[in-house]
Symmetry: C2
Subunit: 342 residues, 2 copies
C-alpha cells in the first residue's frame, strides 16, 4: 500500500560484493578490514593515527592517513562506510562523512546504538545509516590486537528500526556474515537495554570487584583464582573506552544498575540477619542455566524475505527478540542473487 517493494535478488547480489570503507583501525575496525579483505571484498581503511596507518600498510592493507580521502573514495564506489571509532570521536568522523559523502551507505560497530543514531542525525543526516554492533570486544585494543578471526562465530547486532533502509540493512547483514559472524536483528533501543545488562553492567561489576580485591593486599591477590580472574578480566580494558561505552547508555545502564543494587542489597541484608544467601545464589544459577540453554537451542528456521520493508523489518526484530539469529542466506536467495548467465 504505497510501501516501495524491493527486488531482493538484486539487493542481495549488490550487498554480497559491496566495497567496504573502514574508518578507524583499532581492535574492531582493524579486524574488520582484515576480515573484509579475506572475504574477497574491495576494502580500504583510514586512521587518524599515522602510526596505525603505517602499521596497517606494512601489513599489506590499503590504508590512508586522510579520512576525507577514504570517504570520497567510498562515495565514488558506492561503498558501505563503517565508522569504527570510539563514541568520543564519533562526531568528528561523522562530520567528515556528512561533508564528503552525505548520502552514503553508513554503519558503525559501536556498543550503543541510540547515541550513534543521534550523532548521525546531527552530523550526517542524509546518510543511509543502519547501525551495527559486533559483540566481540576483548580487553585489548589497537591495530596489533586485531585479527581476521575476531568475528568468527560471534554475534553481530544489526539495528533493525522502522526507518531502516532495507538495501543498506542487507549490506550490513551481508558484511557481518562475510566476516564469519551470525546476525541478531534488534531495534536500537531494545539493543541498548539488552547490552546494559550483558555488557555494560558486567564491565562495572568487574571494575568494582578488581578494586575490592586489590584492597585486600598482596595476600588476597596471591590467592586470587578462577572466580576473581574471570570476574575481573574486562577490568583490564582501557577505562576511557569503557567509560565512553557505559556513559553513552546512561538510562538503560541505570536501570540495570538498580536491578543489581537491589539484589545485592537484599543479599547483604539476608547475610547479615539470617545468614541466607541461597535465594540470591539460586537466582544466579538459574540465570546462568538460561544462558547455557539459550546457547544450546539451535533449531534452524528459514524465513522468506517479505518484499515489504516494514513487514520484513518487524519479522526480523521478532526473530531477534525470541533469541534467533541470521546464520546465512538460503540457496534460493543466493540463486536469485546470482548474475544472469549470458
Amino acid at each position: 500500500m504505497g510501501t516501495p517493494e524491493v527486488d531482493s535478488g538484486a539487493v542481495l547480489a549488490a550487498a554480497l560484493q559491496r566495497p567496504v570503507c573502514v574508518l578507524g583501525l583499532g581492535l574492531i575496525g582493524g579486524s574488520l578490514l582484515r576480515a573484509a579483505v579475506d572475504a574477497g571484498r574491495d576494502a580500504w581503511g583510514a586512521s587518524a593515527s599515522t602510526t596505525t596507518a603505517e602499521k596497517a600498510r606494512a601489513d599489506g592493507y590499503d590504508v590512508a592517513d586522510d579520512v576525507a580521502a577514504a570517504v570520497r573514495r567510498a562515495a565514488e564506489a558506492d561503498a558501505l562506510v563503517v565508522v569504527a571509532v570510539p563514541l568520543t570521536a564519533m562526531d568528528d568522523v561523522l562530520a567528515v562523512v556528512g561533508r564528503e559523502a552525505p548520502g552514503c551507505r553508513l554503519t558503525d560497530v559501536t556498543s550503543v546504538k541510540e547515541p550513534v543514531g543521534e550523532a548521525v542525525g546531527r552530523r550526517a543526516p542524509a546518510a543511509r545509516f543502519v547501525g551495527g554492533h559486533p559483540m566481540t570486544g576483548t580487553e585489548f585494543s589497537g591495530w596489533d590486537a586485531g585479527s581476521l578471526q575476531l568475528f568468527h562465530d560471534k554475534v553481530w547486532v544489526v539495528a533493525t528500526d522502522d526507518d531502516a533502509d532495507l538495501e543498506v540493512w542487507t549490506d550490513v547483514v551481508a558484511l557481518a556474515l562475510a566476516c564469519g559472524a551470525t546476525v541478531v536483528p534488534a531495534a536500537s533501543d531494545e539493543h541498548d537495554v539488552a547490552v546494559a545488562r550483558i555488557s555494560h553492567l558486567p564491565h562495572l561489576l568487574a571494575a568494582v570487584l578488581a578494586a575490592v580485591g586489590a584492597d585486600g593486599g598482596e595476600l588476597a591477590l596471591a590467592l586470587a583464582a578462577g572466580s576473581f580472574t574471570d570476574g575481573t578480566r574486562v577490568a583490564a580494558t582501557r577505562p576511557e573506552l569503557t567509560a565512553a561505552m557505559c556513559e553513552g547508555n546512561r538510562d538503560a545502564l541505570l536501570s540495570a544498575f538498580d536491578d543489581a543494587l537491589g539484589r545485592l542489597g537484599a543479599a547483604r541484608g539476608s547475610l547479615a540477619s539470617t545468614g541466607g544467601l541461597l535465594s540470591t545464589l539460586t537466582a544466579g544459577h538459574d540465570g546462568r542455566a538460561a544462558l547455557d540453554a539459550a546457547r544450546q537451542d539451535r533449531r534452524e528456521v528459514r524465513i522468506d524475505l517479505d518484499p515489504s520493508p516494514a513487514e520484513h523489518l518487524e519479522a526480523m526484530r521478532e526473530l531477534g527478540r525470541t533469541g534467533g539469529r541470521i546464520i546465512g542466506w538460503t540457496s534460493e536467495a543466493l540463486e536469485a542473487a546470482a548474475p544472469d548467465e549470458d
Copy 2:
C-alpha cells in the same frame, strides 16, 4: 627458650612419604586422591555415597564406603587425614575422626578456615589439625569432575597459626607440593578475610549479574559475549555449595560486601548526576593491573627453616602476607631428609 626444637630433616623425610586418607571424594577430594596416588603416596579414600565409592573403585582407587574404617586405617598408618566434604557435612565427618582416630594428623580442603577450626575443636579436639585450602574450585562438582591435574600450578593455602603443629604443617605443605601446587602460608583469619574478597564476593557478584542478565530476556542472552560469560561462570556452581562457603565466612564477607556496595553506590550516583564512571573504572583497571603485576613477580628466595616453631611459623606468615609462595624444598633440605645409606 623452652620451645621444643625440631629435627627438620627427619620431619621432612616422614612428610615426603606420609600416607594419605581422603574423606569425601567430590571434585577436590577425588582429585586429591588421584594426585596423591600419582605422586607415589600410599593413599586411600572414603565416600558416604555408595555411587561415588563404586565409581572411584572402578577407576582403580582404594576406596571404602565406610568412613570409620578408612579413619581407623589412618590411625594405624599414622596417615594424614584430609577432610574433603562441604562445610555442611563437616561436623558429622569430624565426629567420626574424633572417635576413631582422636590424635591423628588432620587437614581439610575447605574454603573457610576459622569455622573449620571451630568444628575441629568441637568434634575432634585432640586431632593435630592444620587447615588447608587449595584455590582450585571450578563450577563442576563430583568424582567425575575431578582430575589429578586439578592442583597443578594452583595455590594451596596452608593455615599457619601460632598453635600449628610444625610436623603436620610440614605434612600438609609436602602433600600440596606433591600434587603440583604452590603453597601460600597464611593465618586462618587473614586467609578468611582475603578469600572473602577474591572468592566469595566474586561468587555473589556472578550470581547477581547472571540474574540481572537473564531478566533481560532472550535478546539479552543472545547478545551475551565475553564479559557476561566470564563474569557469570561461577554462578553455575551448585548454589548450596556456594551458600555454605559464603555463609561460613559471614563477617569477612560482609566487610567485602560493604566495600563493593559503597563503590557501586558511588558509581551509580556519579552516573546519574554527572555521568562520570572514569574514577570507578580506573580504580578497577588499577586493581586488575595489580593482579597481573603480582603474577609477574617471580623473584625466588630461599628460606632456612628456623628450628623454633614459633619463629618458623611467623616467618612463613610474613612470606604469605607479602605475596610469597613456597614452591619447593631446597636441595639441602632434601639431602638432610634423605635416608642414611647403609
